[in-house]
Symmetry: D3
Subunit: 283 residues, 6 copies
């Protein structure tokens, strides 16, 4: 009897025990303010993972030679605080087992739980939004408060690609984070900026969070809160290639598959880039 | 200077003070379990209201002769309990001013707030789902708990068109509600059933809630939790025409405009039916 | 060299000279009031014509044995009066050549031109709308005035399936047309009604116009002005089968392909029904 | 660590060894003539399986009490003959293990492989199309030849709901199958017909194949070759309830999710109906 | 009682009397030649206005501190000449009251009316098309004739981003306008070109019209007549920032929301840019 | 009687005998691995051809002055080998008549047939994929084997824009083709690369194949197997302008119109560019 094709992320078929990378999704979009749909992000990223060849020509590696597993989706509640707690519990297990969590959102809120479990010293986020509100729509666990919550638990926060926030958030960002707006990325070039970020990290434990809306919504419009005038997919590829090997926890969030698939296609490829680059850079 | 066209429900342009019917939307879909999108329900119903002639030939009335206002949308929180509280506060004002609330969901959860404000003795709901869970996904204010919450505050509950629930909910429905499943509606006919319901009401204060998924999803698929084997739009028209004049509060919820507009078209027409029939039956 | 597949209505490949039926489209939707898109009707109907087998089992005929041609689309102006004139000129040529025009709309307005050219004594229209306004949005050649314009040129008008119009239009319909509303069709049955219509026609020259919105929008939602509570496709099939053989000109208008294709599928099948039944009933 | 949600058909989480029902998909649509997309059928049916409560109120059973497994998707080739062979091999394993195959198409062609493995004496198919061509588009393993291929291997063929085929196919159907067209189903009622079919079966081994286009495309338009004037979902429910307990192999094919989900919703519910009714009727 | 959320452009809630900027839409698309849908442009731009933070970090201003009103939509006719007249009348009122009109199309034709009312000396238009036909599809008031009509009433016309027109239009453009094609913008840079334009304006009264198709359709595909090889959203931002303060009337037309929202998102942001930059540059 | 508008590629109305360029489509997508839909490519490209002015301002030519014909679509089988044979037969007729074939896919597989008929010495392909597999999904005539099949029959193969393949394909490409990956195009510039290619061609007979996925899927997402990090439409325009005049056969394949039309719009314009540049460069 032939083996039927699996429904998980392509080539993520190592048994959990032997896996170094643990993929899982959190299809939660309960605090979304503009349009919902990021709950379908994990499904879309998995589907598009099958669009690509397993071989990464730049790295010279076949993805099926890297020990990756996909545990499916985690869904614990519709209340944001409970979701964050559930994610934290789940990721703690992964970290305890010495594995690297690779989480697919869902809305950005889920990152708060993963960061809590990974316990990084530096948090690097690519995002169109500052996400530095203290509260939004009645909860401190909103997609608009993610970086603010993380800020309370790490030593350094780096924000790349931001272009949206209220006056207060921009003030907080200026004082308490390393902010590289999208306009700054365009002017100075992503490579220069990543050099500065690497210097600042100085070998500390990093969590890397990609909010899909960091990329210009004219290039990848499948987003809950789309913003023009953003970064390019090539900028993001550079971020993942450069910072990936230094990262203890990774997520890709806020994909809302309203488009013809390009947003999920970019996500699936960048997730693979992260895994491949981290694997090459290991030891 | 010509007067620009308004963005509200068609012909709902009476000033609030003079209005008898007060339309408003609650674009909340935070606890949705299957697919989100009912937050776009109010917008879709308003858009389709402009598709129809103002004249109701069966009633012989022009809608612009009925005093209706549309206050726009109410959005207070992403936490279900706070949303219910906000709706209750808002509707209390409408009731206090002697007007009839006509609410567009959003998910069914918003009904709990409106019922609390209207304070009916009998609650009649058309719904594919029993909505009798005590809790779902971490909250008692979920779209799956609406009828259970209402059951705690009214004398009688009538459920028409249901065909989905777990074993416990069907037991509760059998013991504590007047349940007419969709199969029963098909077998006995909606007119017969409505006769029984009218007898049971006996002139008491009624709240009428239409969950759009009461209708078969093959006829109106623009729903968050679509169910086949349901009621027809004609059945619903009969419900609204028969019970409308006896109703102190009305809502139409769970329209998620994924389709070619038919679900919102039916909703807009039935909302008008309610208003027209209530207006004719006044005195 | 093999013959490439044509882009016209399936099996409509008889040369014009030898054809008895002349298909053409008028992709005009300039006066549409709710949502545009009927300009894509002809294209959609042609595409779906290839979905079906050529054989009509009820009639025992293969469509490729009937002499049909498809001349493509006619587009002359964006001004409704000029469009009507252009259609009238075009159809006059077809009629002069002793052929039967089979027109695909576009909006209903194009019918005014075709009727003018065919010169029927009786006009039968299936439509959700009375289309009896004298003027709409600044022109007497609007989709809302079609039946009114036709009324000025024929002896008898039969309206089947209507359920929308203002008070004045319903008064005109009562006085000057044979009106069978959708509710009446449901109550009395289409067969009974068609018997009455046949008696009334008494062998006179008939033009049959199908406005796709005659059918309930829950069954075929691909429409510019969708209306629930309408006729069924089976009702329409009965109309076409019964009246088709008596008809000198035919059109199918107002298909706006927003849906998954069902509206165009029904249209393509009913166009074939018309052609097949007319062909069988000839001589 | 909490258990993440699985990606399979809802509640189909029994280990293969203990399962009585074995779900798998064959996302093949290579011979599709009108529009492709049935390859997405298995995915859509699985997604919609999560839309429903596990409880079947008519049967009084919770689906999670029935031993079902879902093996994911099988994809072996793009050449129809190889696909048929692959399916046959795969299903032979399931049958040898004493389990009941429950296959999701993909196009109807996959049924030929499953029937070959199950080896029924009677083949019952609900389908808008006769599928009795000997060859189509260069292959005898086309979606238009399914029933013809099966006819070569079974004692009796029953076709329910057909309304499309060429003259030759209707002749073959008349001579060599038990044909109940959609018009006949409407006239005589599905219950009467199923009584006849049960009598004819006389306890022999049955394979039941549901081509989703048996249902009227105005009710479920998510199809590769949509046909109006068809059966209703309630008719299909009756077929599955009545014949399900007598069936050794089952499939649901030709769902192409272009619509708002209603076609997959009906499919998911009818698959459950089959499993539940077969389970109740076992021993 | 809480205040319900309004349905207008975000933060455009100053009373008309106190407003400096007057937003209104003209949902007209009657002369559209390729695909209709710009009638939904005003609705889409308003919806996406709620996607953005009120704060403009580059300008250091909160939009709610700028006196803006939104009057809703204006719809007067389906005949292009009457629409132009209606817009002219309406805008004359706004201008007479000393306010700045900010109009959302609808098709480009509406600009002719607004320009007539504003009476500028210089007309600057960003457009993929020359729009210099004298007549199209039977009317001189077509979307293909806009710049030709305006040319008859102003001193100077500047066209930026054009790449489509017939031979005659390119000859007229060369002789009678300042034409910067999209290729020229790419080669010389938008900043250089805007320097030349500012010099040419010399403080005269300017009307600025943005046809959304000036931007490359691969970046913003939600258009009635999409053209590749165009400008970027960043180019447009530069145009609005540079010329905005010198502008007496502004419009953004031809958004047809077929895409995932990116075209309306860019439009909403650029409308805000115009208002903010004009407000900062006032006095 | 006015002439109705044709359904073919815009301005491709020269009789076959007089035509120099022969357009035809092959709506085949039977071996597609990720998502089907390229069968709708020819239809979409034809539709979008009507979006553009006939005048090419860079070339100074009106398309209707170039002798082009459109023969419609060719569909011979669902088996890939038979499709390739059918295309080869059909193109042989065109070549024998001294005309230039301009083919619209359908999937890339159809190119194998056209190349076989044209018999070029050099094959230039723009493609995201190497297409160098010897076999895929059971057939050597798969969309993943196109360049491998062609490699067996020509002297030189040039691949531009590739970024996807397995390890073995990259090894074959390095040894047996002139490979310019998308990253190389970005680094060195398309003009430089085209200079090298022209030198290498040295006046030999060229076939130019454009796989639409050569372009970055964030710019044109209407693709069967979308890949980010690709070429731009401007790069492709340069390829067509530079190599077009040297080309004996041309195709544009793999357009799958899932998007808002931008992919088909780019295709239609580049097809015109090819024809116009080849016509100018003739003699
Ligand atoms: Mn974020
Ligand atoms: Mn963000
Ligand atoms: Mn409910
Ligand atoms: Mn419900
Ligand atoms: Mn009409
Ligand atoms: Mn109508
Ligand atoms: Mn079949
Ligand atoms: Mn079928
Ligand atoms: Mn323009
Ligand atoms: Mn333009
Ligand atoms: Mn290729
Ligand atoms: Mn490719």
């Amino acid at each position: 009897m032939q083996d039927p094709v699996h429904l998980h992320f392509a080539d993520a078929d190592t048994p959990y025990e032997d896996a170094r990378y643990v993929i899982f999704g959190v299809p939660y979009d309960g605090t979304t303010s503009f349009r919902p749909g990021t709950r379908f992000g994990p499904r879309a990223i998995r589907e598009f993972s099958f669009n690509f060849e397993a071989y990464d020509p730049a790295a010279g590696i076949e993805l099926f030679d890297v020990p990756v597993t996909d545990l499916g989706d985690l869904m614990v509640s519709r209340l944001p605080e409970a979701v964050v707690d559930g994610v934290a519990d789940f990721v703690r297990g992964i970290v305890r087992d010495g594995k690297v969590p690779v989480m697919f959102g869902g809305e950005h809120t889920v990152t708060v739980g993963a960061v809590r479990a990974v316990g990084p010293e530096v948090y690097v986020v690519c995002d169109a939004h500052l996400d530095l509100r203290d509260e939004l729509d009645g909860t401190p666990y909103s997609h608009g408060c993610v970086t603010r919550r993380v800020l309370e638990t790490v030593e350094d926060v780096v924000i790349i690609g931001a272009r949206s926030g209220d006056r207060e958030q921009f003030e907080i960002a200026a004082e308490r984070t390393h902010l590289y707006t999208a306009d700054v990325v365009r002017e100075r070039g992503i490579a220069t900026i990543l050099g500065e970020v690497l210097d600042m990290i100085e070998g500390r434990r990093v969590y890397l969070s990609i909010d899909a809306d960091a990329i210009d919504c004219c290039l990848t419009p499948g987003l809950g809160t789309p913003e023009p005038f953003g970064m390019t997919p090539l900028d993001l590829r550079e971020v993942v290639r450069t910072l990936g090997p230094h990262t203890a926890g990774f997520d890709y969030v806020e994909v809302a598959p309203f488009d013809a698939g390009q947003t999920a296609a970019v996500a699936a490829l960048l997730v693979r880039q992260f895994i491949v680059r981290h694997w090459i850079g290991r030891c």
